[in-house]
């Protein structure tokens, strides 16, 4: 009796257990995919990423990653050395900004005049949309004049009488 009861309880709990196992397997699979899908960047890749965000100080329009200039090469070496020393990408960028200013960044921070360049078109667009919306709403609200009713022209009594007479005359003249 005891053995049968235990078996019954085990059978009853089996679906829940299976669901738990399935969830654990799914979670493990997600973790594996997440880890294997984004392997940690190698140091060379990290150097490339940081260098791509820095403007070569002696070039016209090249990043430190793309420039063949000796100074850009030395900047890449400096980045690699700082990474080996344990500095983060942000700290390395901040170091170059401290020496060269914001102009060393390929994408300057959105502050001051640079910020105005970023945000002014958005403001103009927003102002245009608001204006267009306001004008459209005003136009839709303006009461339109009613179209003249076809069957009831605004005629004076005398005119109606004249029209009725003319119609009667025409009918009398109609043959048959």
């Amino acid at each position: 009796m005891n053995a049968a009861g235990t078996l019954r309880r085990a059978r009853a709990g089996l679906p829940g257990l299976l669901v738990l196992i399935a969830l654990a397997v799914a979670l493990a699979a997600l973790v594996i995919v997440a880890v294997s899908g984004h392997p940690p960047a190698s140091q060379a890749q990290q150097v490339q990423q940081i260098a791509a965000g820095l403007h070569c100080p002696i070039c016209k329009d090249l990043s430190v990653a793309d420039s063949p200039a000796p100074l850009a090469q030395q900047m890449r070496q400096e980045i690699a050395q700082k990474l080996r020393a344990g500095e983060s990408a942000g700290q390395i960028r901040a170091g170059f900004v401290a020496a060269y200013g914001d102009s060393v960044l390929m994408s300057p921070p959105r502050q001051g005049v640079a910020g105005a360049v970023y945000y002014l078109p958005l403001l103009v667009l927003a102002a245009g949309l608001i204006t267009a919306f306001t004008l459209l709403r005003r136009w839709l609200r303006t009461p339109q004049p009613d179209p003249p009713e076809a069957d009831s022209p605004r005629l004076s009594q005398a005119e109606r009488r004249a029209v009725a007479k003319a119609v009667a005359r025409l009918r009398e003249e109609e043959p048959g």
């Binding site: 002696i58 030395q74 020496a99 060269y100 005049v113």
Partner: protein
Amino acid sequence: MRRRITSRRTRLLAGVVTAVAVIVALLMSGLGRDPSVFASPLVGRSAPNFTLPQLNGPPVTLAKLRGQIVVINFWASWCTECQVEQAALDQTWKQFQDSGVTVIGVNFQDTIDAARSYVRTTAVTYPVVEDTSSRTALAYGLRGVPETFVVNQSGRIVNRVIGPVHAAALAGEINSMLRTGAQ
């Protein structure tokens, strides 16, 4: 009714004129600036320290020169403008070396042989150090040569000169700093 429409039109016109004025002012502020000249964020800040080997002598450490005015000149043997300013730097060194002023030449992106040959033939008298890794040049935000940084007695960068320095201007600046002391 007509007055209300006129007032609305005036406001609209004022808004458009203001917007155009703001955009033109932004553009004008950019047009009036030489894009090749970047202000150094280091001016007013502590000069990055360095210890660099001298071409003909013991290593030079900037921190050990605290209390002196230091003129740091980045140069290269292949740079023609550096040859132009050579006399001015030598003159400054000879004039002020006994008054607590040091001139240091930092050789930039050069070969040691070429640098030594240049120093020998042009008879450079002030200390010249080599920055083979360009680490010091990068710390000073160098964009080319010649560039000169003037460091006051308390170790702050007070001026950065892009291009050749002039002896009279440098002497005037140094005399002013010697009179007022470190500030």
